[in-house]
């Protein structure tokens, strides 16, 4: 059973990392989680980003967060990528599989996946 003792162990491990986290957030991935996003499948998309970013060792530079309705409900699930000094990139009609591609190509290697952006999708 996932016990509270195990949680305590996580806490002890994380204590040292808390300082590190504050310097992070060069890249922000924001997933639309309003009614429209949720109904269109945003929950597994968000979870895929959280998993891939953390398991892929990108947590130091990428933060994944949630937002409300972006105003383009027909294109949900929508994911926006904000990077300091660069123009915002919007990905539309996302799926967990597409999320994996975005993590690998865009977040890891800096290549925007244009086929998932509104003009192409």
């Amino acid at each position: 059973m996932k016990s509270l003792a195990e949680l305590q162990a996580i806490k002890n491990r994380m204590k040292d990392k808390v300082v590190l986290r504050e310097g992070s957030g060069d890249v922000r991935v924001v997933v639309g989680m309003a009614t429209c996003g949720i109904a269109a499948g945003a929950r597994p998309v968000l979870n895929a980003f959280v998993e891939e970013v953390n398991n892929g060792g990108l947590a130091g530079k990428v933060t994944v967060s949630q937002t409300g309705c972006v105003g383009l409900c027909q294109y949900e699930p929508i994911v926006e990528v904000y990077e300091a000094g660069k123009e915002k990139v919007t990905y539309v009609k996302m799926t967990p599989e597409k999320a994996k591609t975005v993590v690998e190509k865009h977040l890891r290697h800096g290549e925007v996946v244009t086929e998932f952006t509104p003009a192409e999708a």
Partner: protein, 177 residues
């Protein structure tokens, strides 16, 4: 919505937006009946507003003039022969209750509640959630206030914590299934 768990995620977001410090989510299954209760200690609404949230063309949002969260929940439970109710008081909070009948052909499956709870915590690590799913076989429960007491200043959206919560709920579900 394909699963009631998605309605849960959606409606609980309203509580967070209403600045709730604690959002309680209860799923009670007894026989054919499933009762969902989402209770918060947020800003609450006056009587007029409570009436208007059932209207799909009411929303607090500015980006467009449609708010479908509550209407979709209402539809989901009413199509099984159930009922939805909202009670609210300004400065006290809001409680949304929806009753579903599971044997009705139009009953939407409950789906992955664990995923919804994890998503809520990941998105709002600064607020607390109490989740309790009671079935005839037993009960699954998570209180982020307890988790927070152990974690002290480690944020709830730390990936390892999120994984712990997901696995903890998963194991509790295994035990009652």
């Amino acid at each position: 919505m394909k699963e009631i768990s998605l309605n849960i995620l959606d409606i609980a977001e309203n509580s967070v937006k209403a600045k709730a410090s604690l959002t309680e989510i209860y799923v009670d299954e007894l026989g054919d009946k499933l009762t969902l209760t989402i209770k918060d200690d947020g800003c609450g609404m006056d009587e007029q507003t409570v009436k208007s949230v059932i209207d799909p063309f009411y929303t607090t949002r500015k980006t467009r003039k449609v708010g479908l969260g509550i209407p979709l929940l209402k539809l989901a439970c009413e199509q099984t022969g159930g009922k939805m109710s909202i009670t609210s008081q300004i400065g006290v909070g809001t409680t949304v209750t929806a009753v579903f009948f599971k044997n009705h052909i139009d009953f939407t499956p409950l789906g992955d509640v664990t995923s919804s709870i994890v998503t809520l915590i990941q998105g709002h690590p600064e607020t607390d959630f109490l989740f309790r799913h009671t079935t005839e076989n037993g009960c699954v429960e998570l209180d982020t206030r307890e988790v927070r007491t152990v974690l002290e200043d480690v944020p709830l959206d730390t990936y390892e914590v999120i994984c712990w919560i997901r696995d903890n709920l998963g194991e509790q579900y295994e035990a009652i299934n």
